[in-house]
Symmetry: C2
Subunit: 437 residues, 2 copies
């Protein structure tokens, strides 16, 4: 057995990109070569690593480095391409070339996969090779494979997750310290949890790409980033966190993928926004840079997957799992499942999705204001779950939490409140998730 | 594409056993036939269902029922056998026959897989077919596939889980109500959470079989149920739960699979026992009939998987995931990984495994007792982490929690304490898990 394994020809691996994740992938490939060979059934050999800057010192034999990623991908002795460069171009073209050339691909590129999985999976299917991307969502946490394979015989109703570590770090810190958004973002930057330009994270774009990937897999329907309704965390205030506590909640940036049943039959909702989450909900206690994904399926019930959602070594763990499975398929034949979009469910507009609202407003301190405000909600058939009145005089505040109603009715009510004389300012609007009603 | 799929010949499925899980598998196969066909690439057709009693009313076309499981397994038009009869015989022979006949097998049979995976995986490898058993551990929760595939490129250090719903229900209820073991077991029986003969659950045998399966996969080493050190929950008292609370802990029956590094190199420890777990540990809040498994790997860090560990529909979800993947492989070629035992690590004796102890004893109420007791610990190089003295006179009690030391040193200390004049009775001994020191 061991001998047979040793005599099998090596599987050639090209690594594109040697940032945090790439460097860890290269390290694991070198340090754990014996284990990997036993698990694959053949040795894994690095044919080359494509980088942008050859002069940067790196922990690798410099003969393996190249700036010509396209030439590396095209090499005959490369069987699997690990794409870790990120972004759309040139990653898209490199992956497509690899796949059409009969090479399997492992990618952590959420932005690319959110929008081009259809094209790339088609190329992989034609060439009968693998396209794996576990590392594109939630770092080390196995989510793609469980959704695609373990739940292949179930009907997924909902996927809700904390899939962006930067925003979760910021919201957790705001919750803990009571500090405001700007101050906490600056602190996150100092600690290395936020990038110099944090837009992709705090604007919810990163989470939206992941939501598109998760929704596509969960519902066997093509969902792209443009289909995902998106709000970031930039408007979340210290007051919101404090108010959330009074409702036994905290605030989390959630990526939600949901099967919505309405008049037109089943549709898919994919959305990203900061939401109040009850402290009793499993996602409420996911703090700091950790990620977690809750999956609700018809037969499995509620499942939760929790772990490190970012970082070099954790993300490399997910890449390596995909790489070993792709290599094993090269040795033993066969391939893993690709995207399946047979269900072709339409995407629901946020307007039609039932949501709950938390609305905080400064109001005139006089009798009858609550009745007026409540009237605007009831006019649009939005039922109120809880009300708090706080402060007095210039600081009189009214906080309303609603029951579930179509988001359009909720947002139109808020617009009407903003026009009311008695409402000085709607200071905050957040949705509430993780409750049944 | 759809046409091609519809023209593909059906994949024939034989279901052995129609209890809670089998009935749900049959229901899902019938209700979700269209979705399953799209996901597999061919229709799944039930060729027959083997049952013991034909006269029992069941929700299935009676023409599909048979009492002759062997004849059903041998049918030429059966491509995949779903084994849900449990126990060693005749399941072992039925599965072996299926595999050698070129049929893939999906099984939920933890007792069988704990001891005979080697034999069965060998038969599957020879016939180049699949042997999947996600449902054998932790019901609906994907654990086997993530360990075997998602973590295939990582080095698992530790797997610790709550994998038995009955004992977790009992311990959670004891924690909540303050009631004793016998009373709570009776209540669990009334509510359907404990079987008439609860030995397999409360004795830790069920958890030990699952620990063997998890350890085998996590450490690429064959571990059988006999290799697992095992204690059940029958000796856990209301006092233990109360004492645990005073140390900010609760008591959980844990299955622990650990890589232990000692003088002789790496070894594998697999063990099941009730243990004090700090309330801050993620497993502490897993209550009732829920299961959870924490995996710690070198690169991934700590991952947690949580969900329903038993029940017809949740377990059927796991069976169906395996069935779809096995069927997909029949259609597209290839097969999933089987057990890999290349690492062949020796199994460590519990004696050599570093553990922490919680020891509660009734002691004579006189000066110097603590010093004497402490002396017995220090004599064996067991360092004490915390001491509580409670009560007085006949009810004087001493509770000691130790730091980590080889289990033999801990258990020998307890034996010595039992022989001390000053110690009237060692009333409880539990290990403590989920802490670093």
């Amino acid at each position: 057995m061991t001998e047979a394994v040793q005599n099998r020809p090596a599987i050639g691996v090209a690594v594109l990109g040697m940032g945090n994740v790439g460097a860890e992938v290269v390290r694991i490939l070198e340090e754990n070569a014996d284990d990997l060979r036993a698990r694959v059934g053949a040795p894994l050999e690095i044919r080359g690593v494509a980088v942008r800057d050859l002069s940067k010192p790196r922990k690798i034999d410099s003969a393996l480095l190249t700036t010509d990623a396209a030439a590396l991908v095209a090499r005959d002795d490369v069987d699997i391409v690990v794409e870790l460069v990120g972004g759309i171009d040139p990653a898209r073209e490199l992956i497509r070339t690899a796949l059409t050339g009969g090479k399997s691909v492992v990618s952590a590129n959420k932005a690319l996969l959110a929008d081009y999985t259809g094209e790339l999976a088609g190329a992989a299917a034609d060439a009968k090779v693998d396209l794996y991307f576990e590392a594109a969502v939630a770092g080390a946490i196995p989510v793609i494979r469980p959704l695609m394979q373990s739940l292949a015989g179930d009907k997924v109703e909902r996927v809700a997750g904390i899939v962006n570590g930067t925003t979760n770090f910021i919201l957790s810190a705001m919750d803990e310290t009571g500090a405001g958004y700007d101050e906490t973002l600056a602190e996150a930057g100092r600690l290395g949890y936020a990038e110099a330009d944090p837009t992709a994270d705090v604007g919810g774009y990163d989470a939206a790409a992941k939501a598109a990937i998760l929704a596509s897999i969960a519902f066997h329907t093509r969902v792209t980033a443009a289909d995902v309704y998106r709000e970031g965390i930039t408007e979340v205030t210290a007051d919101d966190l404090a108010a959330a506590k009074k409702f036994d909640c905290t605030v989390k940036l959630l990526a939600i993928c949901e099967r919505v049943v309405g008049d037109g039959g089943e549709r898919v909702s994919a959305r990203v926004y900061p939401a109040l989450v009850p402290l009793s909900h499993p996602l409420a206690s996911v703090n700091g840079a950790f990620n977690a994904v809750v999956v609700e399926a018809e037969n499995a019930g509620r499942l939760m997957f929790y772990g490190q959602g970012a970082g070099g070594a954790p993300t490399a763990s997910a890449v390596m799992g995909d790489l070993v499975m792709a290599a094993r398929n090269k040795v033993h034949g066969g391939r893993g499942p690709l995207e399946s979009t047979y269900a072709e469910l339409p995407v629901a507009s946020i307007d039609d999705v039932p949501t709950r609202y938390y609305v905080s407003m400064r109001v005139a301190d006089r009798p009858g204001v609550l009745a007026q405000v409540a009237g605007e909600f009831s006019k649009r058939a939005v039922s109120i779950a809880a009300v708090r009145q706080e402060g007095a005089g210039d600081d009189a505040r009214l906080i309303v939490v609603t029951h579930r109603a179509p988001d359009r009715a909720q947002s139109e009510t808020v617009a009407a409140l903003e026009d009311m004389d008695a409402v000085i300012k709607v200071s905050s609007v957040l949705r509430m998730e993780g409750t049944d009603d």
